[in-house]
């Protein structure tokens, strides 16, 4: 190309560049590109939500419900308002009450729609519907910010949303895939706590069993010690109320407990290995507050050592079918707990082990 023509092209390019800079046209083009990209991803989310909704609807139809769409619509718009936190007095009691009321209302909704199915199947439907509701909520929130950004020409809002989209898409994919495990009753990564509890029960001699508040308490003789093993009642999708049950048990035994151990799945940091076990102090439980504080208060009231064990995993691994590494980690953790108890307590002592998490696919 002759240099004069080349210079002309370069000059035209610079003129266009400066016009765009001074008129803000470059920002408008950038905004349009972001909004197109977000809209494409939003359509992907919509497709996933519709697919999952149809899957659950056909599952409910197979169970005898004629119009599952009505129940799904109601379940998806169901909400719980957080308690007032500017006045913290009683907040745990209020939060516990609201969480329990919310759980009961949601269960009643499914129960009334499917009165003839068993508890196990109903728990699977409940959790699957909750997952679809969560996905639907993500879809609505992303759509809200996209439309607001477009309406108000707010390029900062669109830029933030565009930068967050990869993370949102990963979460949506994770929830979308979790439907398979929860609708079929497969154990998930979060079931590692109840699985460890179950293996511990299997290792010893069961003296007694009772179920309180959807939570099982096993009294087990093992390694010359009295173990109380607490886990959500399985094998349905259930997290129980391990905190409240543990606190009541400690009171019932007048605090004559030598050690409390909580075992749970914990989200790993990027770079950490799945199935890694870590030991620490405190209550290993990922609830919003009421269950965790009940354990802490019970341990503090009677000055009982409170130890925590966690099995590390990523969010996708926590809510999707249990991976082999996590299963193997559960086997190792059982031996870890037995060794820990032998080291920290004398013979004939009483120990409480609480396996925290969703007990889907794990009986007892």
């Amino acid at each position: 190309m002759p240099s004069s023509e080349w210079d002309f092209i370069v000059q035209i390019f610079w003129i266009i560049f400066f016009i765009m800079i001074f008129t803000g046209a470059n920002q408008r083009i950038q905004m349009k590109l972001w909004s197109m990209d977000i809209r494409n991803k939003l359509n992907i989310i919509k497709r996933m939500v519709d697919e999952d909704k149809e899957k659950i609807a056909s599952y409910m139809r197979n169970m005898g419900l004629r119009n599952p769409e009505i129940v799904l619509k109601k379940a998806m718009d169901f909400f719980t308002i957080d308690p007032v936190d500017v006045e913290p007095t009683d907040i745990i009691r209020r939060m516990d009450h609201l969480i329990r009321t919310s759980d009961r209302s949601f269960r009643l909704l499914i129960e009334q729609a499917l009165p003839s199915i068993g508890r196990y199947e109903r728990s699977l439907v409940e959790t699957s519907v909750s997952i679809v509701a969560a996905l639907h909520m993500i879809y609505k929130v992303v759509r809200h910010y996209l439309l607001t950004g477009e309406k108000e020409n707010n390029w900062i809002l669109l830029m933030q949303l565009e930068l967050l989209m990869p993370q949102i898409m990963r979460t949506v994919n994770t929830y979308h895939k979790a439907i398979d495990a929860f609708s079929k009753g497969k154990p998930v990564g979060d079931s590692v706590g109840p699985l460890i509890a179950y293996r511990l029960i299997e290792s010893g001699k069961v003296v007694s069993k009772r179920v309180i508040d959807e939570t099982s308490i096993y009294e087990v003789r093992l390694d010359d010690r009295r173990y109380y093993v607490i886990k959500a009642e399985g094998p349905g999708s259930n997290v129980g109320h391990p905190g409240k049950v543990l606190a009541d048990l400690v009171d019932e035994l007048n605090g004559n407990i030598d050690l409390i151990i909580t075992v749970d799945a914990a989200l790993k940091l990027e770079g950490e290995e799945t199935g890694e076990i870590a030991e620490g102090v405190g209550a290993a439980i990922g609830d919003r507050g009421p269950e965790k504080i009940a354990i802490e208060r019970a341990a503090t009231k009677y000055r009982i050592p409170l130890r925590a064990l966690i099995v590390k995993m990523g969010l996708p691994e926590a809510i999707q079918a249990m991976r082999k590494e996590i299963y193997e980690a559960a086997e190792i953790t059982v031996e870890y707990i037995r060794k820990m108890v032998k080291e920290l307590t004398p013979r004939n002592s009483t120990v409480i082990v609480a396996g925290i998490g969703n007990t889907i696919g794990v009986p007892g």
Binding site: G185, K186, P187, L195, P235, A321, K324
Partner: protein
Amino acid sequence: MSLQLSQDMIYYLLIAIAVALTIYFLLETTTKPKEPETETKELLTCPKCGYSVEKTFEPGDFIGMIKGNVQNVEHHYESKQYTT
């Protein structure tokens, strides 16, 4: 004349490098790593004789579930393990 020619060559080379880099970065950002196919399996183990067999997961199965008898023996299979 020869200077003009070499200048043009540099321009063409720079344009070629810019185009190649653009294509490379576009491909780099658009190709996603393929997720590995997973399957949930269960290891059915007889607690008495230790005989075990791996099967594909069936909806409704759970860990510790008694699943039929071991061939020709009166022992039970117990579902033990899930892998994906």
